[in-house]
């Protein structure tokens, strides 16, 4: 008989309660993008939430015609979590960060000392995941979010998730998430995606030597994401262009983006450019020697090249001599730029973004020995040599340039 009562009692108990953490999913407002800005007040931060509207663009069953795809609001508070609480006084739904993928940081805020405190304390909240992408925007994050409306993707979360896939392809930007931030911030330079919706176009000869906002563009989506913001010890200290970012990735032992298109000077027709795809099929090998007073770093980068187009219409496919010329040109060009980048990191930033510290660490027996060595400082005077191993693999789908003007 006692069992019987239990059977009746249990479900009714469960029916009656079930409160606390339970909340219906339509009552939540899903913030998909979070913006962080420096506030006018000290020790305050402007938090911008972009809350997606499920009734726009997700289903044909119930569509709200006159509602925008997302709601954007900015709250000034001491940190992200209290901003979230405050926002609930304005938004009709309980703000939920479970679908948050992207955190956008205004450059001004990133350069302030307070940034590390905010980010560091935010991970206490389990809703902030270590996989969230970080983006530094040249302008204020709230402005960036307000003006970034993609034409192709109505829903912002889709825009960022597609963009993330593109980043892996192009290598113009580093992959930067919170986990990497915490991994590297103590040891090395940390690169964050650099983005902007403000445009100051500059025409450059080299096809990708741009930072965000500089790419010549007419019409299309407002946001440009190219180049990277450089962080050291939890604070932004400078920027790298898209091209430099690529070289950083090239010099890393293991990089997420391992093929991209680049253009070089045509070795025969010097005014023209030749476009190639660079592939890093094997891992870069890096040897770090910490025995000497100034550490020695030997980098070997295997690169495979696929020629994609040569507007000069010279034929590189058939003669060895021309292939050698092309190879040398690519080598010279790349090597010079890479060495310049290394010099920049040593002198300007005083740290390395290549994650060589992991390899330097291998050379030590204990953690204390490594910490005493102070790799970051030693790096500034390190002797670094980069060796590029270039192989031309293919010449595209057409062997020869088209025959023009010779037809009969």
């Amino acid at each position: 008989m006692r069992d019987k009562w239990l059977i009746i009692l249990l479900p009714s108990l469960a029916l009656l309660s079930g409160c606390w953490d339970k909340i219906e999913l339509e009552e939540r407002g899903y913030a998909v993008v979070l913006g962080l800005d420096k506030s006018e007040e000290d020790h305050m931060v402007d938090v911008t939430f972009q809350i997606e509207n499920p009734q726009v663009g997700s289903t044909s069953q119930s569509v709200a015609q006159n509602e925008p795809p997302s709601d954007i609001l900015t709250i000034t508070a001491t940190d992200i979590i209290s901003a979230k609480e405050l926002a609930n006084s304005i938004v009709s739904r309980e703000i939920d960060l479970s679908q948050l993928q992207t955190i956008i940081i205004g450059e001004e805020f990133a350069r302030s000392d307070y940034f590390n405190n905010i980010i560091g304390s935010s991970v206490r909240d389990p809703e902030i995941r270590r996989k969230m992408m970080l983006i530094v925007s040249k302008e204020k994050a709230s402005e960036f979010i307000h003006s970034n409306h993609s034409k192709l993707e109505t829903r912002p979360h889709k825009y960022y998730s597609f963009m993330r896939d593109r980043w892996k392809d192009t290598g113009y930007v580093p992959l930067s998430d919170l986990n990497r931030y915490f991994q590297r911030t103590a040891n090395a330079l940390f690169l964050v995606i650099y983005a902007s919706t403000e445009k100051e176009p500059e025409i450059r000869k080299s096809s990708d030597n741009y930072k965000a906002g500089q790419v010549p563009q007419e019409a299309g989506d407002p946001a440009q994401m190219i180049g990277s913001a450089v962080f050291q010890n939890g604070k932004m200290i400078g920027t790298l262009t898209g091209e430099e970012t690529r070289y950083v990735l090239l010099l890393r032992k293991k990089s997420i983006a391992n093929h991209y298109v680049d253009s070089f000077k045509d070795p025969i027709d010097n005014d023209r450019k030749i476009s190639v795809r660079l592939l890093k099929e094997k891992k870069t090998t890096v040897k770090v020697d910490v025995e000497k007073a100034n550490p020695e770093v030997r980098v070997h980068v295997p690169i495979t090249v696929q020629v994609l187009s040569s507007p000069s219409l010279h034929n590189y496919a058939y003669t060895k001599e021309r292939q050698r010329m092309l190879k040398e040109e690519i080598h010279e060009d790349l090597h010079a730029k890479i060495m310049q980048l290394i010099k920049k990191t040593q002198e300007e930033f005083g740290g390395e973004p290549f994650i060589w510290f992991q390899l330097a660490r291998r050379e030590f027996w204990t953690m204390d020995a490594y910490e005493d060595y102070d790799w970051q400082k030693k790096y500034r005077n390190a002797d670094i040599q980069v060796e590029l191993d270039i192989t031309i693999e293919s010449f595209g789908s057409q062997l020869k340039p088209p025959h023009v003007g010779r037809g009969d």
Binding site: L10, A14, G18, D21, K22, E26, Y30, P54, S58, S62
Partner: protein
């Protein structure tokens, strides 16, 4: 067919012996059957050997094959030419005259009544205090037909029917072995019925046989109509959702259980065999398991396991995910659900309950509805209803999918008891999910598994041979190739022969 009717336990008050007085004997029979009010009792007076021997023949209408009575009982009597010695009339008739398969000499009225009820005809002779009962039984029964519940694609296509004799015949045809034992017992104190307990001697455990017999004997009730009711008397746990016996309508499946050392119970009026003891695996494995090729059957097993989990957990997991753990859902799906949920007036719990109950009602209705109008509703009706409910904003579309897949999966589970268990458990989990989300569901899962693995059916642990583990010759979750299987009682170590027939593979002794 020889049947030895056991003496009934119920001692009725009209238990009296036949006497030399012919008329008295006749009256006894008449009184026992309330003749002439009861018109079922048929009598036929006869006199043979030029009138020197006369007697009377009784039978109950509808219980005997009348042609057998004519040709095997009456005709030999009338053709009798040799005068028997005095005092040996009954002996002679029984041994050398009557042609039926079983003859019994009866001295007590009670036995006479019993035999008459079971389709024998009774011969009373003048000046004899011994009656003769000849087996001429033939009750109406339908012909052996295809199984209606446990369908298979490949395999025998016959099912048990309501006649115990036919069912035994079906089993005997499959196990042609003298070790197949069939013990008959009577149950029911007022209206008794026969139960036949079948097992293979030397394979079925002796203690187990004894226990089953004790359980059947121990039943104290007025009447047990058929096996389904007997099941409820002998099952281990009345209030538990978990079944402890199994019913099958397939003789081949019953046979494979017999060979595995299980005990079979048969009764008249039940087109089933009741199997004890059982484990979870006997409920889970289907009739077709041994007939399909190795890869195919294991594919089906994977599907069935999935189906069980889907049938139990889908609604509760959806409920937990949408109210407690929204981060689980991929954003595109989440937004699509949120968009449609926004215009639905009721909480997701009630959405699920509403549709689940609708589905269960449709399912019940599908069984109860007269077959003439049956095809008009059914599962299709459920889908149309769901569609309409979605359009009326009563439920969101995803719920229809959740409930439909759940319902569909529950049809994969063939065993009725297991099926019910899963359907009821589902509701339990829905309520728990509503209460505590995943934390609650999986605490309940841990408790459920602990509960089930502690269960026993006739002392056999429910999850054996998985837990407690011992080497299973047939495979538990996945089936082994048939040539690797050794025929072995499911819960013990002994086996028929030591070596596996296929020389390619050595046997693994436990």
């Amino acid at each position: 067919m020889t049947k030895e009717p056991s003496s009934s336990r119920n001692q009725t008050k009209n238990d009296s012996l036949f006497t030399d007085d012919f008329q008295h004997n006749i009256t006894l029979i008449y009184e026992a059957f309330s003749y002439p009010t009861n018109q079922s009792l048929k009598t036929r007076q006869f006199s043979a050997l030029q009138g020197t021997m006369s007697g009377i023949l009784f039978f109950l209408e509808g219980t005997v094959e009348e042609t057998t009575v004519e040709t095997h009982v009456m005709k030999p009597l009338y053709e009798l030419s040799d005068k028997p010695e005095d005092g040996k009339v009954v002996d002679m008739l029984a041994n050398s005259v009557l042609l039926t398969t079983a003859i019994r000499e009866i001295v007590r009225l009670q036995d006479a009544v019993h035999d008459l009820l079971n389709g024998n005809c009774l011969i009373l002779l003048e000046n004899e205090k011994i009656a003769i009962s000849a087996n001429t039984a033939s009750f109406e029964k339908r012909v052996v037909s295809e199984p209606t519940v446990e369908n298979v694609v490949r395999g025998p296509k016959e099912a048990f029917i309501e006649s115990m004799a036919v069912n035994q015949s079906l089993l005997r045809r499959q196990v042609k072995d003298s070790r197949l034992i069939c013990e008959n017992m009577t149950v029911g104190d007022v209206f008794s019925n026969e139960v036949s307990i079948m097992y293979i001697k030397g394979i079925a455990d002796d203690k187990l046989i004894k226990e089953v017999k004790q359980k059947v004997e121990g039943i104290q009730t007025d009447v047990i109509q058929n096996l389904s009711i007997l099941e409820q008397f002998i099952e281990s746990r009345t209030y538990s959702l978990v079944p402890s016996t199994l019913m099958t309508e397939r003789p081949d499946r019953a046979t494979s259980f017999l060979l595995g050392g299980h005990i079979l119970l048969l009764m008249n009026n039940s087109p089933y065999a009741l199997i004890v003891p059982i484990t979870f695996w006997s409920l889970f494995h289907t009739a077709e398991d041994q007939y399909l090729r190795w890869a195919n059957v294991n594919f089906i097993r994977i599907i069935s396991i999935l189906a069980i989990f889907i049938a139990i957990f889908t609604p509760s997991i959806y409920l937990a995910a949408s109210t407690f753990h929204v981060e689980m859902l991929p954003p595109d799906l989440l937004f699509a659900i949120a968009a449609t949920r926004e215009i639905v007036p009721i909480p997701v719990l009630w959405e699920i309950i509403l549709l689940e109950f609708t589905f269960e009602i449709l399912r019940e209705a599908g069984i109860r509805i007269p077959s003439v109008i049956g095809p008009t509703i059914g599962i299709v009706g459920a889908l149309i209803l769901g569609q309409a409910a979605v359009q009326a904003n009563l439920v969101s579309p995803i719920i229809v999918i959740v409930v439909a897949i759940t319902g569909l999966s529950s049809f994969v589970i063939q065993d009725l008891s297991l099926n019910f268990m899963i359907r009821i458990l589902r509701f339990l989990f829905i309520f728990i999910a509503n209460f505590m989300g995943f934390f609650g569901i999986f605490l309940a899962v841990a408790c459920t598994i602990a509960y089930m693995s502690s269960l026993k059916s006739f002392n056999v642990p429910f999850f054996s041979p998985l837990a407690p583990y011992f080497h299973s010759q047939r495979g538990v979750v996945f089936r082994k190739p048939v040539w690797k299987q050794a025929l072995v009682p499911f819960f013990s170590n002994s086996r028929y022969k030591k070596k596996v027939s296929n020389p390619k593979v050595g046997s693994r002794d436990d």
